[in-house]
Amino acid sequence: MNRLHSWRVAAVSAVAAVALSGAANAFEPEATECIAPANPGGGWDFTCRQVGKTLQDLGLIPGTMQVTNLAGGGGGVAYAEVVNKRGDDNDLIVAASSATATRLAQGAYPGNTMDQVRWLGAVGADYGVIAVSKDSPINTLSELMEQIKADPRSISVAGGSAVGGWDHLKVLLAAQAAGIDDVRNVKYVAFNGGGEAVTQLLAGSVQAFTGDASEAKGFVDSGDIKVVAVLAPERLEGDFSAFPTAREQGIDVIGANWRGFYAPGGMSDEAYDYWVEAIGNVYASDEWKDIMARNGLAPLDLQGAEFEAFVRESVDRITGLSRDIGLLQ
């Protein structure tokens, strides 16, 4: 279900030629490999291939980085493989995203927890948006939430992920922050990807849309939809700068769909430091910032221990919310 949904950010995070500073590490990578836990063409696949290519172009790794597709279980098959069979591989990195954290939090990778791997760093984030159609009487997130509070049946919210997935959780987090006690009343309709969900908003089948900024961009530019809130800490740059954040409207919620990497739990500290620095340098380049600005992507500058803490916090938060709505017992 989420395959169609999650490639957008990855596609964007994929293209950059980056000048890495010459890293002087004790660790020398050999036959490097990146596992994309999905079929070719998906978001994780793009993340792997482009970061791999960048590393190769800069001569930071010997030869090409082998990209292995290991699909199944929404990333769970790859996660289990890394934990059980490749636990001490120093040359392996694996593409991950908010979807990985969400599924870990909801126990959708049976028997696996986030502590079984080492989290390397993020390469960017796509902040959530909540939008209505251009003809809607609703103009702000507060108005939307008031309407849901008054009559939850009157607003169907469309999103590109399954129930319990990231697009759904974003709107529930917003509802929770807006003081709606029983968020289960929020009517959510799951579609196969943000594009389909936006189309149904235009078609008038649903009243609101929850998704990522990059998914909404084409329709924001054309004026077909009205963004009522951006779920970012501060206003985004570029085309989205005209839209207020949820925080500005007194609803304290942030929803970032990040992209990054994890590595096997038994990776040596030298190798871990090497990969953290490499990914940090990919992220820091000017070309990368340029791409993010053009695509409604926002910075998320987290590597190493900071990134691990960030993932832990989001896993905890999603676990709590999933308990509240009964997805987790």
């Binding site: 292995t68 597709n69 959510y188 709505i325 997805l327």
Partner: protein, 143 residues
């Protein structure tokens, strides 16, 4: 008779399917129809079609002799073994073995079969890995 057996299997499957559908755990969030209804309808459809086959079977097909059935069973086993050994032995070796076996069972001689197996394996490796760039299973030889 065969149709009746198939119908019987279909009926059992339908019961099992419907029973499994009723066992689906429903979380607190649910849409009006829920996750169970559609599978139950499908199970019912399967059951009805199976019932019809039991009552009005078609003429009997020609089943192969036991030796041939055994042959197919062995082929299934070999293919399953191939699937499991692929990550262990690597692509080129395991594919050569499996292709040689199939070729032999389909009538190639004791020399032609291994040659065909190796040829097929290397040919596919060239097209899929070297040209299309798919990552195939890497074995002890790096192939």
């Amino acid at each position: 008779m065969s149709d009746r057996v198939l119908g019987g299997c279909g009926l059992l499957l339908a019961f099992f399917y419907i029973w499994q559908a009723t066992q689906i755990r429903v979380s607190f969030i649910s849409d009006p129809l829920g996750p169970k209804s559609f599978p139950i309808i499908i199970g019912a459809m399967l059951g009805l079609a199976s019932l019809y086959m039991i009552l009005r079977p078609d003429p009997e097909p020609v089943w192969p002799r036991f030796a041939r059935l055994f042959e197919i069973a062995v082929a299934v086993a070999v293919l399953a073994a191939y699937a499991m050994l692929l990550p262990e032995l690597g692509f080129v070796i395991s594919t050569a073995l499996a292709a040689a076996f199939l070729s032999w069972r389909l009538g190639a001689g004791p020399i032609a079969a291994p040659v065909a197996g190796i040829g097929i394996s290397l040919g596919i490796y060239a097209v899929f890995h070297l040209i299309l760039g798919l990552s195939l299973a890497r074995g002890p030889l790096g192939l």
